[in-house]
């Protein structure tokens, strides 16, 4: 998660952010010079509410909206305490924003949104989007998304982002007006580029493999962790039965009665404690999930490189073949097999006028082709440069965040075990006193 804050505890909700924590956040996500939005503005996703409305097919639906609050930092540091500006947004609007960013900044590893539907659930958690725990975790996830975007050196300067945070109405029209949807690369184009590209930058190919592995490993980890959580739940809850039996038994006994009764209470407490424990563990799962989705974003950047590289290669080979054609026409020599050559042999060559026309057309095409190649080369180089920088930034952020997540997880486990030891020590004392 984007907060650094207290190293001892798992990431906390956004409305508890202080100024210093925001400062730390920025450092964490490796902000460069230049003012990012987060330096100028305090952002939080403060609340969630249910609304009803008509959807696109004119049916009544219930959906959740999230309150985005912003305050200018200058005002705060000067000692005023202005009320925050706020507006409500639903999850689908966040999705539009993210898609816009993906298309507009393809060389950036764009932070992911929290999951649309609850996945990797263990049996107790419902997969219901209306479940209050799910909504709360989503609120935290959305805030995390905004903080990450607003502290990114490139993304934070985007006007559409600013509008998203400040203008409730008309935002959708404005974003559609940018025409970003048309700019999106077709999946087929991207896929064929992956197969056909000849000389992609090796570093990107490696990164792509890494992103595949990261994705498969984190998803496997999340799946097994959910099963482990399920089992822990079972073990703890069965101990609750001890509580009942001891209670019943204590009624039968004289000297042992008190001890059994107390021990029974401890067993009940033990069984009840697992709910909080597993709730906290969900936060760890959320941290892993963020990077599961980040892996996809990383892969998208690598794929885009393959696409631009492929386009460059295609433009280059087009140019080469056009030049060859020109040579053939000019010298009459046929270097490679071509239908033109065959038809020439079979049906005789064209008239000089025809040839001239063809040649000048070719010359035009070649000039255009050379421009295209130059453009594409520059595009490719710039893409590689920009993307590599951001991928490095991402790598460092990932190492930091996951390290913290693992530490937090270990701390959680230690706390769980300590509580267990406490319960059993208490129970043992009760048994001793019997």
């Amino acid at each position: 998660m984007a907060d650094a804050g207290n190293k001892e505890s798992a990431p906390i909700g956004g409305d508890e952010f202080t100024n210093t924590e925001l400062e730390n956040n920025k450092n964490n996500t490796m902000v460069e010079e230049g003012s990012t939005l987060l330096r100028r503005m305090e952002i939080s996703v403060a609340e969630a509410e249910k609304r009803t409305g008509k959807n696109t097919v004119n049916m009544q639906e219930i959906f959740t909206v999230y309150l985005i609050e912003t305050r200018p930092i200058d005002a705060i540091t000067e000692g005023h305490n202005p009320a925050p500006d706020s507006l409500w947004r639903r999850y689908s609007e966040f999705e539009i924003l993210r898609n816009y960013l993906l298309v507009t900044y393809p060389f950036i590893v764009v932070p992911p949104l929290p999951e649309k539907r609850a996945e990797f659930v263990w049996h107790k958690l419902s997969a219901d989007n209306m479940d209050p725990d799910f909504v709360e975790r989503r609120r935290i996830g959305l805030e995390n998304f905004l903080l990450r975007v607003a502290s990114h050196s490139v993304l934070s300067n985007d006007k559409i982002l600013y509008h998203f945070l400040t203008e409730e109405h008309r935002w959708k029209e404005v974003v559609y007006e940018t025409g970003f949807q048309a700019k999106a690369d077709s999946r087929i184009k991207a896929l064929s580029a992956t197969f056909r590209v000849k000389n992609p930058d090796k570093r990107f190919t490696e990164m792509k493999h890494y992103s595949d592995e990261l994705q498969s490993l984190t998803s496997q980890l999340l799946r097994v962790r959910a099963r482990v959580a399920d089992r822990i739940y079972g073990v703890y809850k069965v101990h609750g039965n001890y509580g009942r039996v001891f209670s019943e038994w204590s009624a039968l006994e004289k000297e042992m009665g008190d001890g059994l009764q107390s021990a029974g209470h401890h067993m009940d407490a033990y069984a009840a404690s697992v709910d909080d424990i597993l709730e906290e563990e969900e936060r760890y799962a959320d941290q892993l999930k963020e990077y599961l989705f980040y892996a996809e974003a990383l892969r998208a950047v690598c794929r885009k490189h393959e696409l631009t590289q492929y386009e460059l290669e295609t433009a280059s080979s087009d140019l080469i073949s056009k030049k060859q054609q020109r040579e053939e026409l000019a010298t009459g020599m046929v270097r490679t097999f071509s239908f033109k050559g065959m038809t020439n042999k079979l049906f005789g060559q064209e008239t000089p006028e025809q040839r001239e026309a063809k040649l000048s057309l070719l010359e035009e095409q070649i000039v255009q082709g050379e421009e295209t190649v130059t453009e594409k080369t520059v595009e490719c180089e710039e893409y590689v440069k920009g993307a590599w920088v951001d991928m490095q930034r991402f790598k460092e952020q990932k190492d930091r965040d996951l390290r913290e997540a693992l530490i937090g997880y270990a701390v959680m486990q230690i706390s769980m075990c300590k509580k267990g030891i406490q319960v059993w020590t208490n129970a043992k004392e009760c048994f001793h006193k019997m």
Partner: protein, 332 residues
């Protein structure tokens, strides 16, 4: 010349005795056969035993499998050391099988009906479900048999029983076993079909019977819960065994994160091993004790039933005698 050494020696002996006393203050004999299980056994015996006068030590050890044409079975070495005059030799070592222990217990019940005989481990095991020759099963049984023998050996009355003596010293018990089977059958038939009606049971025995019923029920429930916990813990184990390695695999793809990820993996492995130990201890130490008490209670219930039957018999005979007196009175 003053003997400075003796007071301090005496003091240190007292201290070590203090260190090893039971929670209620009874000192524990430090020269008893060395093993933690025997120490545990001692803690469960009658508190009024003075450890210093023990003159009979019995252990059950060294299980061996015997394969004959008719059957396969396990025998245990029963080793005895004693200074009692009732025994011809100071040491004995014989081989006995479960049947023989069962015979002994029956004999003790028959000859000492007013005493509570310690229980034996379960006689019958479902052949398909439990492996009678697995190390675990044999070891659990051996421990229980050892406990049984020690309890009898330390009992001020039972340990002098002639059948107990024979069990410890005789080369083979064959002849007596046949008789024992028959007599046991006869008696159990009597108790099952005892159609004697009981007038009224003294309150304290009723209360005891009720208590025993409920107590058995509670113990049974606890046993079931414990087994369920063991099952859940095993399933938890299975998942943990898959969980740790995923971290290890991930560590291979990472640079900075390799160490922390491998750290987590090894921690998960440790937890898994600890859980394994816990589950094993529950099976080996906790459950057998529960079951033993259930068997104890069964014995107690049989004793109560015998008492009921004796009372019923007595009342019936009393009635019959009164009836005949009346007859004689009316005849004259």
């Amino acid at each position: 010349m003053t003997r400075f050494s003796s007071p301090s020696q005496k003091q240190s002996a007292q201290e070590s005795a203090r260190d090893l006393s039971l929670p209620n203050g009874t000192p524990v004999e430090t020269s008893s056969p060395a093993s933690s299980s025997s120490l545990l056994n001692r803690l469960q015996l009658d508190d009024d035993l003075d450890g210093e006068t023990r003159d009979l030590f019995v252990t059950v050890e060294d299980p061996k499998k015997h394969v004959s044409t008719m059957e396969t079975y396990i025998t245990y070495k029963v080793a005895t050391k004693t200074t009692r005059v009732e025994f011809d030799l100071p040491e004995y070592s014989v081989r006995r099988r479960y049947q023989d222990f069962d015979w002994l217990r029956t004999k003790l019940e028959d000859t000492q009906p007013t005493h509570l005989i310690p229980p034996l481990p379960e006689k019958f095991v479902m052949k398909g479900v439990v492996d009678r020759f697995s190390e675990e099963f044999v070891e659990t049984r051996r421990k229980a048999l050892d406990k049984f023998m020690k309890r009898v050996a330390d009992h001020p009355v039972l340990s002098f029983n002639e059948h107990f003596n024979a069990f410890l010293s005789a080369k083979d018990l064959d002849k007596r076993r046949g008789l024992a089977l028959l007599s046991k059958m006869g008696e159990s038939v009597k108790y099952v079909t005892g159609g004697y009606k009981l007038r009224s049971r003294p309150v304290e025995f009723s209360a005891m019977g009720d208590y025993l019923d409920m107590f058995t029920q509670k113990l049974g429930t606890i046993d079931r819960i414990a087994q369920r916990i063991i099952k859940e813990q095993s399933e938890y184990q299975v998942e943990l065994r898959e969980y740790g390695p995923v971290y290890t695999t991930w560590a291979l793809s990472e640079a900075e994160l390799q160490e922390p990820l491998e750290g987590v993996a090894s921690c998960v492995a440790n937890c898994s091993n600890a859980l394994d130990e816990l589950t094993q201890d529950m099976s080996e130490d906790f459950l057998p004790v529960l079951r033993e008490y259930v068997l104890y209670i069964d014995s107690m219930k049989i004793v109560l039933k015998k008492r009921d039957n004796i009372q019923a018999e007595y009342e019936t005979k009393l009635e019959a005698a009164a009836f005949r007196k009346e007859e004689r009175a009316s005849a004259t």
